[in-house]
Amino acid sequence: MGSLFEYAPAPESRAVVDIAPSYGLFIDGEFTDSADGKVFKTVSPATEEVLSEVAQAGEADVDRAVKAARKAFASWSALPGAERAKYLFRIARIIQERSRELAVLETLDNGKPIKETRDADLPLVAAHFFYYAGWADKLDHAGFGADPAPLGVAGQVIPWNFPLLMLAWKIAPALATGNTVVLKPAETTPLSALFFADICRQAGLPKGVVNILPGYGDAGAALVGHPDVNKVAFTGSTAVGKEIARTVAGTSKKLTLELGGKGANIVFDDAPIDQAVEGIVTGIFFNQGQVCCAGSRLLVQESIQDELLDALKRRLSTLRLGDPLDKNTDIGAINSAEQLARITELADKGEAEGAERWSPACEIPSSGYWFAPTLFTNVTQAHTIARDEIFGPVLSVLSFRTPDEAVAKANNTQYGLSAGIWTEKGSRILAVANKLRAGVVWSNTFNKFDPTSPFGGYKESGFGREGGRHGLEAYLDV
């Protein structure tokens, strides 16, 4: 009998997913080459292996796709809600049936652990389609007046951190309300959106209702600026969000932006310590911290700071970093070399500015993009790492003495997407939550998502809400 309990590798089989050597754009129900014939490669961030070659959309392709969506809009929006619901339910069921395949695909293309794609992403993707399918024939009762009208063609640009989930957040409410869609997935993670295109065909969705255009920022800009797009929805960085706001300003386009964040996770001295530690881990190390609502600032009451940090460090030492396809992996790969460089730069800056850096002993694979879970202590509000969004597995620890100070520090950020409160005292949860300027406030939990719950930001975290009844509003003329 050995002396250690070493888990044997348990990789998920890649055989469940069949990735073609090349993919086209999905326009008007067909896969097609881009007008100028450009292609780009998508790689697995864990191994740097090229997964496939994908057609790269340009301005002409955006125009083609918007035209297809405009043509489809007339009949799609005229369908009774119950008919649209049938398509959405069908898509939701196909996603469930193909969820293992999609989970493996997403892990290969994005680098996040299979246990997250399998247990978090895919169930939520299906749930969003089910949820909005349920709304499609009840829009009269959604609180936006009788018979609210769709907007028309929605141009949607999504990020690489939750490729399929962000697609679901955007496409499900758009279709339920009778809009048609042109969606641009991120250049590092186009594959699951293209598989979704196939699901649309499988579901018999009318041509042109959903169009998928893999491409770079220029394609996104062309889509956002296209004169025949009625609604723009964007999830991504604050810098790009501002650019989009400038483009859309003065037009009749409706806009929702879901941008960066620097969430505060506030732990009071009467918190359930062991569960708070889990919540901190979920808050910042879920999806390698590449989450806009990550709890990247830990605000801990001074009286329990040492105890909590000891417990947190002990817990971080049990995190398993490595092959994202291994079911036992907790921390996968960073999505791209560029993102890794940015995380590295900001973490180095934290050190240079005098914060104390700590990481558990952990082996980094030789190929791929990896960043060890990292903790910074002795951080103050004046440090860059306490202000800038890092979008990686880097936690900044700050302390406070009173609830008022906690609220003041939590709100002292240009962002306002999420926050967490940990305390056993119910009255304190309510009192503090009311004072936090954040779109989502979790109490005694973190990074929990549900299609029925609206999600969105304050300040530079954007505006508009996705999910829930509120999420319908962004796609209706109200």
Binding site: F5, A10, D270, Q275
Partner: protein, 332 residues
């Protein structure tokens, strides 16, 4: 950790300079100091605790890790018979099985112990003589614990005199739920004393009856302060016995207790663990919560009887590549 603080918390694995009873003398000085201490322990968020236990349950254990886990689990089983109908013959059969769990494969490890009622200790002792298998006995008016202290102590002394290596005592849940913590504490210390130096003491909380996780954490600390060598979830005689969540919570308690006092205490989930898959999940909890220092049968046990056969069948499957069947392992 909780107030009042001990003067000198020890590094993990350090040697305690004093017994828990002395270290916590201030805490156990009166009912009110004890209550303050126990109610000052960090709370438990039920949703979060259960979510953590469930997520550890999804660890995938295969091939070499599985083979290791199965043998480890077999070596941690307290093979148990606690029936009114127990006879010397039944206990002897159980003892033989503990020594040679798999009649077809003598490389199988022995179980940790056989667990019997006090009047069967002598029989069990003889049945496992020379094998290293311990004899545990449920003394203290098991399973209800509803008897006078004198009766419980006599029960313990009886079992110890008959050669029991381990005593599994039940706490007075009535007193605990009534907030009479000092009474529970005093009973445990008295039983510990009756165990002398020859028998290790396992304290059973009957977590299903304590009903809240906060209570389970308080009971864990109470038991450890009173000198328990093991803390144990349940008797196996009620509806809710060992669960991943209550075992995870107790593992956190022993981990924190050692960090603070240097004293290591074992954990024994009992009742309701029937399959290899379940047992492996518990081992993952041990590994990732208390740590590897608890991964042997001196510090972790399974109170189970039907579990062993499933472990043996899985072990045969790994050895031969085929599933056998219930006729290839022994009935008790």
């Amino acid at each position: 950790m909780p107030s009042p603080k001990l003067s000198a918390p020890l590094e993990q694995g350090g040697t305690p300079t004093t017994s828990p009873a002395k270290a916590f003398a201030d805490v156990t000085a009166s009912d009110s100091t004890l209550r303050r201490f126990l109610h000052g322990l960090p709370g438990v968020d039920a949703v979060g605790l259960e979510a953590r236990a469930a997520s550890l349950g999804t660890r995938s254990i295969k091939t070499t890790a599985k083979a290791y886990a199965i043998d480890l689990a077999i070596s941690m089983v307290d093979l148990t018979t606690l029936e009114g109908a127990d006879t010397p013959g039944k206990v002897r059969a159980l003892g033989a099985k503990a020594v040679h769990p798999d009649p077809t494969d003598r490389t199988s490890p022995t179980t940790a112990a056989v667990c019997v009622y006090p009047d069967m200790v002598a029989v069990a002792k003889e049945a496992v003589a020379g094998s290293g298998v311990k004899v545990a006995s449920v003394a203290t008016a098991f399973p209800a614990g509803r008897a006078a202290l004198g009766v419980k102590l006599a029960d313990v002394r009886d079992a110890v005199a008959a050669g029991a290596d381990e005593i599994d005592m039940v706490i007075d849940r009535g007193a605990f739920l009534a907030g009479d913590y000092l009474k529970v504490y005093d009973e445990i210390t008295a039983v510990k004393e009756a165990c002398g130096t020859s028998a290790r003491l396992k304290v059973i909380f009957e977590t299903g009856e304590l009903s809240t996780y906060d209570n389970i954490r308080r009971a864990s600390w109470l038991g450890m302060m009173a000198g328990a060598d093991f803390i144990k979830t349940s008797t196996g005689k009620v509806a809710v016995n060992a669960t991943p969540a209550n075992t995870l919570l107790m593992l956190e308690a022993v981990r924190d207790f050692r960090a603070q006092t240097g004293v290591q205490v074992g954990v024994k989930p009992a009742g309701g663990i029937r399959t290899t898959k379940d047992a492996v999940k518990f081992l993952v909890l041990v590994n990732e919560t208390a740590g590897q220092d608890w991964l042997d049968n001196h510090w972790f046990r399974f109170g189970a009887s039907s579990l062993l056969n499933d472990l043996l069948m899985q072990r045969q499957k790994l050895a031969t590549g085929r599933y056998s069947g219930p006729d290839y392992v022994t009935v008790d």
